[in-house]
């Protein structure tokens, strides 16, 4: 009887979630009136010729003819299909419509909705907190980008972001307790350490060539670029370092609470065993996520007979730096977390 009740309740919640998701998706799918630019829906595609119907603005309902030339490999071009939505603009000079780009917002919404739904279905409360954390983080990140356009230094913004991000996420994961404070301590200490090491190397090493950093705002000075790279190192390592800090501080406090006379050697040994289980796969995650985006560039460059070593040296440079500093973060975070717990754990208890 009781089980039945729970099942009924969860089915009800699940269907509410699905209905909500579908509604949100259709809101995004049909949000043409929010755009000032003219949007057209593709009716039929015949090779390069497209017929489309305008779906918003003054010309709503008009049928228009468009041409879209593309190479089969689609390196820079896009190939549109029936049902796609395109941004179009009218040119008085040639008396014709041309394609400005594709409407992708509803597809992004669809993927995010599926991600959030799965987080809630599998993760329940934790999943919900993760979503809230993500949303707040994205807001903070957008705010910092806004301040950047107003002229604030990117490194100062990143340092603020790192502090806010780590406090917020660790509080959301653990709640307000001793472990949270300890893991915030060790996270910030590890991030500071890898950023300092990288800055020192950057200062002494030969000047880095930033010509191959994608989307680098032009013009820029070497100093700007250096600051941006340090900011990337700070934020890129944050996720894994937090993960390690939480795991180690939880483990170490547990051990100290169970046996307050535990020797430092035993503490280090037990914590290292726990850390061993996670470092390997984690370093792997850092590697694969950083280098994956390199694939299309590699293919295009090799096709143009660039030497492989040149491509790696130029185009994989920043990915490699982020991978190396991220892995350093993982390895440094282990002893630092143990140190923080063994030094501060007792002092916090007196409070």
């Amino acid at each position: 009887m009781f089980v039945m009740k729970i099942k009924k309740k969860s089915i009800l919640k699940l269907s509410a979630l699905i209905i909500l998701s579908i509604t949100v998706y259709f809101l995004f799918y049909n949000n043409f009136s929010l755009y000032k630019d003219t949007i057209a829906k593709v009716d039929s595609v015949k090779h390069y010729d497209i017929t489309a119907t305008i779906v918003n603005g003054e010309d709503k309902g008009n049928k228009i003819e468009l041409t879209n030339k593309y190479e089969d490999s689609l390196v820079y071009d896009e190939k549109y299909n029936e049902g796609n939505y395109l941004f179009v603009s009218y040119s008085l000079v040639s008396d014709s419509w041309s394609i400005m780009g594709m409407k992708r917002d509803y597809i992004i919404a669809l993927v995010l909705i599926i991600l959030f739904d799965l987080l809630i279905i599998i993760g329940f409360k934790q999943g919900f907190y993760t979503i809230i954390g993500l949303c707040i983080n994205i807001t903070i990140f957008s705010l910092s980008m806004f301040f950047y356009t107003k002229g604030t230094n990117i490194l100062i913004l990143s340092i603020f972001m790192v502090i806010i991000f780590s406090c917020l996420i660790l509080y959301l994961i653990n709640g307000h307790n001793k472990n949270t404070l300890l893991s915030i301590f060790s996270t910030l200490a590890s991030v500071t350490l890898i950023a300092t090491i990288s800055s020192i190397i950057m200062f002494f090493a030969p000047n880095i060539s930033y010509d191959f950093m994608e989307f680098m705002p032009q013009p820029h000075s070497t100093m700007d670029a250096n600051l941006l790279l340090i900011s990337e190192i700070l934020i890129g390592g944050l996720g894994v370092i937090m993960d390690i800090s939480v795991t180690i501080t939880t483990c170490a406090t547990e051990l100290i609470e169970k046996n307050s006379n535990i020797s430092k050697k035993d503490l280090v040994k037990s914590c290292k065993e726990v850390a061993d289980d996670i470092t390997g796969t984690m370093i792997n995650v850092v590697l694969l996520t950083n280098i994956a985006a390199f694939m299309p560039i590699f293919i295009l460059a090799v096709n143009n007979e660039f030497r492989i070593t040149t491509i790696i040296k130029n185009n994989m440079y920043f990915e490699t730096i982020r991978f190396l500093t991220g892995s350093m973060g993982i390895i440094i975070a282990i002893p630092l977390s143990i140190l923080v717990v063994s030094k501060f754990s007792r002092r916090l208890e007196i409070k």
């Binding site: 993927v111 989307f215 990337e232 937090m242 792997n284 950083n290 299309p296």
Partner: protein, 248 residues
Amino acid sequence: MILILSIILILLVFLFGSNRTAQSIVTTMINLGVFFCTLIAIYLGLNSILATIIGCIIISLITLFYQNDFNIKTKTAFLSVLIVILVSLGFTYFIASFSNIQGFPVGQYEIRQSNGYLDTVDINMMFLQIAVILIVLIGSAIDTSLAVSSSLYEVKNHNKDITRKELFLSGISIGRGILSSTINTLFFIFIAEYMSLFLYFSKYYNFSQMINSKEFAQEVITIAIAGIASILAIPITSLICSKKYNKI
């Protein structure tokens, strides 16, 4: 700078790490090699998706069986990684072909005909984009699957008469604990990777241009699919464990 950083990393491993940390650095280097072999295979004409799937399988084999041991925990993790790859492949194909996120956005890369370079290749860029997404998701899928399968092994060892359903549910609840940190790890690596892109957006684009642009779509869709795959890995691994561990 890369050389100095590598030396420091290796020193740190010797100072603080154990043998297994050193082993994981070796594994990572082998995986990097596999990644390049995959790229060269694609360049030589092998279908990108096929090459990447083979690459992903080799990466999972090495990460699970070389770095960890060959035992029932890693075997179940491997099986569930395979299923996750298959499931995500279908979904990724659907989304990627739907959203035109292949290739480079106009203005991103310097190799163009106007610079005297060929900007056409005989390789399907759509497939290549799907390959990129697969490489990103394999890392977090292995991480999650292994975490769930080895914790469930401990659970089973401590409660010999646990039922299959209970084992499955405890797998889900273990997964919940690591969910948030996996999603955050992915999120921060991506923000860092594309920080210059976001600076570029905030300078030159308005909001509606940004959310409809190819660059933004590529990035958000890749990270979201990686997240989806690592969440899916939780119930899939729990289910396989609940079936396999009962035979012990």
